[in-house]
């Protein structure tokens, strides 16, 4: 993992493009880089320097064909040196890692970087010891005098050289050197090498500077990330707090902040009503299970009906202050809102649902329920048509006539909007009457069971809404596909039907 980190972040702040370039460069580092062993300077990677190194490399190749890759580890190591946070103990491991890494071809360059990185771990510790000497050999010799670890590392380094070379060759970069050449030979001074030392020094100094700068940048970036993370968690906590408060004020609606006071009050009372509903439901259930006598059960059933009366009264008051809140269903959950009719449930749909759930019914009861459903449907239809006429009238007003007097137009429109309250009240009245009619048709026990069914049904709709709200978003894509397939199927079936007519 550290490998990849190195690979990704080794090169200053150039971003992702550098990542891709890093590997070839790492491979490139397998080439003979004709610098002295003063790579211990711990310099950061510098492309300019690399180009120079390549040029020098070519020079070196011409001069000395059989040079084993000396500096192989250092270049990538130089980049790695930007992570001083890495523990020193890491240096001890490289030998094994690089050896084993040498066997894997696919991560050849990575191995390069790893081993070279480990090599370079030495660097940060003793920068001052890495003095460029005119003779590489001298520098090489100086190390053991100053640092034991360096000696170890160098031995590792030397041992690794052949492997490095072979690794590099495997990565496919051109290798002119034969493996196995001890680094010391490379360090035996040739005149060109001595000339290079000054350049090397300059380059190394520049590398050092660049490394330092990128270290500072990295530190700043990490600090920024940390502070952002803290800020994010704080924001999340604030949001949670606000949401819970908002929910308390706004019921189960999500629109905190966009809510009128009348609506907010209603939402609060509605959430209290929902809690009461749970209590009534459990009373009904225990009443049924306890096989209470009819009169006792009737008391519970009646109290449940008056519990519903309460919510209709609350809605009537809310309709006075904010009818839009009721009629748009912002006080309900999304799944309930989907089936919303005039600010609440549609009584005929509820009865339809009940017929299937209240199975042991006498014929008379079935007829009673069906006629209730029928009348409810007629009433709903009438109210719907009335509302449609209101909407049409409102459209005409808002669209304006040939002479549009803004304020007058608005006043008329406002007057028409006031009628909305009447429709919501009538719809609630219909619901209220329907719920009252049910226990007249059913026995007490059946009525109790019926109200349990109703309560559970809406409870499940509310649960469905919250599950839907927290569903994972990736399924959206698969949903689209499945929708496509169903419509395709429908189209195929439709065309088949068409042909079957002939």
């Amino acid at each position: 993992m550290a490998n990849h980190r190195v690979g990704e972040t080794g090169l200053t702040d150039s971003g992702p493009s550098n990542h891709h370039r890093h590997i070839p460069y790492a491979a490139l580092h397998g080439m003979n880089v004709p610098t002295s062993f003063i790579h211990q300077e711990g310099s950061a990677f510098d492309f300019g320097e690399l180009e120079e190194a390549i040029v020098l490399q070519g020079l070196k190749i011409r001069n000395d064909e059989a040079k084993a890759p000396l500096f192989t580890p250092s270049r990538p190591a130089a980049t790695l040196e930007m992570f001083p946070s890495w523990p020193m103990r890491f240096q001890q491991t490289p030998r094994g890692i690089s050896r084993s890494g040498g066997e894997s071809t696919d991560s050849g360059s990575a191995v390069n970087t790893l081993s070279s990185k480990t090599e370079h771990q030495i660097e940060p510790e003793s920068p001052n010891s890495k003095k460029a000497s005119s003779s590489d050999h001298q520098a090489f010799d100086q190390k053991p005098l100053q640092h034991q670890q360096h000696l170890q590392q160098q031995q590792q380094h030397q041992q690794q050289q052949p492997e490095m070379a072979s690794d590099s060759s495997r990565t496919g970069t051109s290798q002119n050197q034969s493996p196995g050449k001890p680094p010391q030979e490379k360090r035996r001074g040739s005149t060109s090498e001595k000339q290079l030392d000054a350049k090397t020094l300059r380059r190394l100094a520049q590398n050092r500077e660049a490394a330092r700068k990128s270290r500072l940048r990295k530190k700043a970036y990490v600090q920024q990330l940390e502070s952002s993370r803290i800020k994010l968690t704080q924001l999340e906590q604030d949001l949670q707090r606000a949401r819970s408060q908002g929910l308390f004020l706004g019921g189960c609606a999500g629109a905190v902040g966009n809510i009128s006071s009348g609506a907010a009050i209603f939402d609060m009372e509605y959430s209290r009503w929902l809690e009461d509903d749970q209590r009534h439901m459990s009373e009904l259930r225990s009443g049924i299970h306890a096989h209470l006598c009819d009169s006792d059960l009737r008391i519970i059933v009646d109290s449940y009906i008056s519990h519903y009366d309460e919510i209709f009264q609350l809605k009537a008051m809310a309709a006075k202050s904010d009818v839009f809140h009721l009629i748009t269903g912002m006080w309900t959950t999304p799944a309930e809102r989907c089936f919303l009719w005039m600010g609440g449930f549609r009584p005929s749909e509820l009865i339809k649902m009940l017929i299937s759930q209240l199975d042991p019914l006498t014929e008379q009861q079935v007829m009673g329920i069906c006629s209730l459903q029928h009348s409810s449907q007629q009433a709903e239809e009438a109210l719907t048509q009335g509302l449609e006429q209101l909407q049409q009238s409102l459209i005409d007003t808002v669209a304006g006539g040939p002479v549009v007097d803004g304020m007058q137009q608005m006043a008329v429109a406002l007057g028409k909007l006031a009628n909305l309250e009447g429709f919501v009240r009538q719809a609630d009245n219909l619901r209220h009457q329907t719920l009252h009619q049910l226990p007249r048709i059913l026995t007490v026990r059946q009525a109790a069971r019926c109200f349990i069914v109703i309560g559970e049904y809406y409870g499940r709709l509310r649960t469905l809404s919250s599950l839907w709200a927290s569903r994972p978003r990736e399924t959206l894509i698969s949903d689209d596909h499945s929708c496509q397939t169903t419509t395709d199927l429908q189209m195929v079936q439709a065309s088949q039907n068409h042909f079957s007519n002939f």
């Binding site: 009348s375 009433a379 009438a382 048509q385 009335g386 006429q389 009238s393 009447g422 009538q426 009619q437």
Partner: protein
């Protein structure tokens, strides 16, 4: 309709017209099986009309905004019902049923249809 009294203009007191608006209401209500007092622009009145038509009933509708004495009748109806809304008001068989509230309730609890049948407005 054109009463002789109309030509006297606006200065004649209502009583001399011969009918108290409430009396007129009651009189009109008893003339048909199902009577709806309405205002043409009122949407709730439209809903009530649709309800009866949907049931197959053919109600007699008086649009009070189109009646010269409609305003008084509206006031009378408001007093009768104690509502802020004067219309719609429904009479079946000359008997007052009420506003939309009561009509709906009556329909849901199953009393509306027998009343309609009794008044001869609805046949099976």
């Amino acid at each position: 309709m054109h009463y002789q009294g109309d030509s006297w203009g606006f200065y004649m007191p209502m009583r001399s017209m011969g009918s108290d608006p409430m009396e007129r209401v009651v009189k009109l209500a008893s003339e048909s099986a199902v009577v709806i007092f309405s205002v043409s622009s009122c949407c709730m009145c439209h809903a009530v009309k649709r309800l009866f038509c949907g049931m197959g009933v053919n109600p007699t509708v008086y649009e009070l905004d189109q009646d010269p004495r409609g305003k008084e009748m509206e006031r009378a109806l408001m007093r009768l019902l104690g509502n802020s809304q004067s219309v719609p008001v429904v009479f079946i068989g000359g008997k007052l049923i009420g506003a939309m509230d009561q009509v709906m309730a009556s329909h849901i609890n199953g009393t509306l249809v027998p009343l309609l049948k009794e008044a001869g407005a609805l046949w099976l």
